[in-house]
Subunit: 389 residues, 2 copies
């Protein structure tokens, strides 16, 4: 096990009607003037925005609003938010929505206190040490941003999508009410689930030896996802399945299951290029790419893949790790297909002629590669794109 | 899944030499004058106390010391610590030791700021809302007190052992260096492991339905414990096994695997009577009592016991949950025996004639029972004592 430092100080309020405590929480964490940040009209139509505002009013906390966050959130709205916060003297940013809204809120919270351009932190992955306090009311379990120190933004001018991190970006509190996810369309539910699964797999595939506790915890979350996701696809108002997925989504990315081990994250980077260029739904891109990445990685550590196949899908090991591992990868393909995810990049609107362009835009490490479990060159990435085209 | 609120803000510094950061952490969390609290001479002999003091000196933080905490920590030393802190103007309490030292430190941190007697909070289980900030350097993975909001103290005059909890008792930081546990005798290692296992089992046995994510997480930690504990018993300096156990011990009791579900905690209460009266090592008492409690609880939910048997010990379910579940209970007995834990109360020095006295001292709920998974009367508790005598 590697040395590590871990601190996940976010207060989680989980369950029915939890959003009623939003105002109380903002008060507890010192907010006196709030930016309420959200996406499209769904939080208006559902009445959630009104309920949240009512909760703030009850505590006498004034607020301003900025809606319009899009999936794969853009830098333009972030700049608008920063201006608005400075003009209005906002000291607390509340995100009401999914990962895109939360990530945009984190960028605004950073930019308000930054001397220069917020984008500098994202482009260079500079850790954020100072930001306005953030709270979230989550409506889509997926990105894990409600607990993570991460944020991913797309630069509107260059269409470059980059993520940064920093303790200052961990929300002070997050409201997790599974009922708020009842109205999610099947596509978004399944894409969110795929993103959650990918967050676990990026941690699961490691070269670090002797990390049984986090191996087992990753497997626990994966087992939960493969059982609960089909249930909500079949029955969108199944509270219990929604609840299990929501808490799994949070634990999948606050790093409690990833500490002490080298992590990979190549597949996320490879997917970010798709999302930046074609506005592909992040989770859907991951559902196509992860099995393709696994095929590439299988030979590097067949035993780990065989273990995954057995522990997650109950596939008996016939003594041939490579064959068993391959069955596990196929099981993931079938799983993603069963929840309505696409099977190839073509159906996501990706064009073959862009593969090299995308691969060449990746932010590589100093040694010119991507990832840790296996080290990918841009050429390898093109091969991965091709293999799932 | 039940509604819940969860916040585990402790910063964990895990790995080799992590204790070197103690001074830096105290500074980060605002400590300017520190009480260093510890137990017997082992932290002196090992040089740990000197290293920790060196780390404080490096940051220019003055400190006073109070050693002498015993297993099953007593109220007398707590009062001494409170007096010392008030006299010396201490504003941060650092525990260097195991759960007993940390629990004693939590009681001191409470008492310094309390208007009345600290014991009031423990006797009546009143939540502690105000206490001096606490840090820990852990030397024994067991009680989970390095992350939990809990503390258990024995009143010296009455020999009543009681626990309380409160967010204010969550340590600001905890140093977890597996190497510091190399010198633990096998008995303490195994007792600590049994305590960790018991913390998971108290959460695992629940009547709450549809809590797959926390079920699976509990199982992940149990699987880790049954594999790693025998390794450290055989090879006390096995860093990797020590590391896996140490992180498991923390997660077993910061409640991340217990949220959203009713928990039991009867076995802990039943054991506390043994520890209070005979100074039995807590984990050793639990290793004897838990299988006995399970036998009593088996009929209440045979399916859950059968699931445990299959998932933890790989015992195939032959279609008879009761029989499979019983095999699982027997597997726990054999496991505890294999790591050197006693098989009955007699070998712990407990006297049969005290059973009724102990059962009648238990703090019962308003309905006159103990526990949640099954509800035990004092008569039931006597039967449990007898069944493992």
């Amino acid at each position: 096990m590697l040395n590590f430092e871990f601190c996940s100080p976010t207060r989680f309020l989980f369950g029915r009607n939890a959003e009623e405590k939003t105002g109380e929480m903002i008060k507890k964490y010192g907010g006196t003037k709030v930016l309420i940040h959200y996406g499209g009209g769904s939080v208006i139509r559902s009445g959630l925005l009104e309920r949240v505002k009512g909760s703030l009013e009850k505590e006498g906390i004034p607020s301003v609003e900025l809606g319009g966050v899009q999936p794969n959130p853009r830098s333009g709205l972030v700049y608008q938010g920063i201006d608005l916060c400075r003009r209005e003297g906002v000291d607390f940013v509340l995100a009401v929505g999914g990962g895109s809204v939360i990530d945009s809120a984190k960028a605004i919270a950073t930019g308000v206190l930054a001397e220069g351009d917020f984008w500098e932190y994202w482009e260079k992955k500079t850790p954020v040490r100072n930001a306005l306090p953030i709270g979230t009311v989550l409506t889509l379990p997926a990105a894990g941003s409600e607990a993570s120190p991460n944020s991913v933004i797309t630069n509107e001018k260059t269409l470059i999508k980059r993520g940064t991190a920093g303790d200052a970006l961990r929300p002070r509190f997050s409201v997790l009410n599974p009922e708020l996810t009842y109205t999610l369309p099947a596509w978004q539910t399944a894409s969110g689930a795929s993103d959650i699964i990918a967050h676990i797999l990026e941690r699961y595939f490691t070269n670090t030896q002797e990390v049984e506790v986090t191996d087992r915890l990753c497997e626990a979350l994966l087992l939960t996802m493969i059982k609960q996701t089909p249930r909500v696809i079949a029955d969108p108002k199944c509270y219990e399945a929604r609840a299990n997925i929501m808490w799994t989504g949070t634990l999948a990315h606050n790093n409690v299951v990833g500490v002490g081990r080298e992590q990979d994250w190549a597949t996320h980077a490879i997917e970010h290029e798709l999302s930046a260029l074609y506005d592909v739904t992040h989770g859907a891109g991951l559902a196509v790419l992860f099995p393709a990445w696994m095929e590439k990685a299988l030979i590097h550590d067949p035993k780990r893949f065989a273990t995954m196949a057995t522990r997650i899908f109950g596939i008996p090991n016939d003594g041939d790790d490579l064959r068993t591992g391959r069955k596990g990868i196929q099981a993931w393909r079938e799983f993603f297909k069963s929840i309505g995810m696409p099977e190839n990049l073509r159906s996501l609107g990706v064009r073959e002629e862009d593969f090299e362009y995308m691969a060449n835009r990746l932010l590589l490490k100093n040694d010119g590669t991507l990832g840790n479990f296996i080290k990918l060159t841009p050429k390898d990435v093109v091969e991965i794109y091709k293999s799932c085209y």
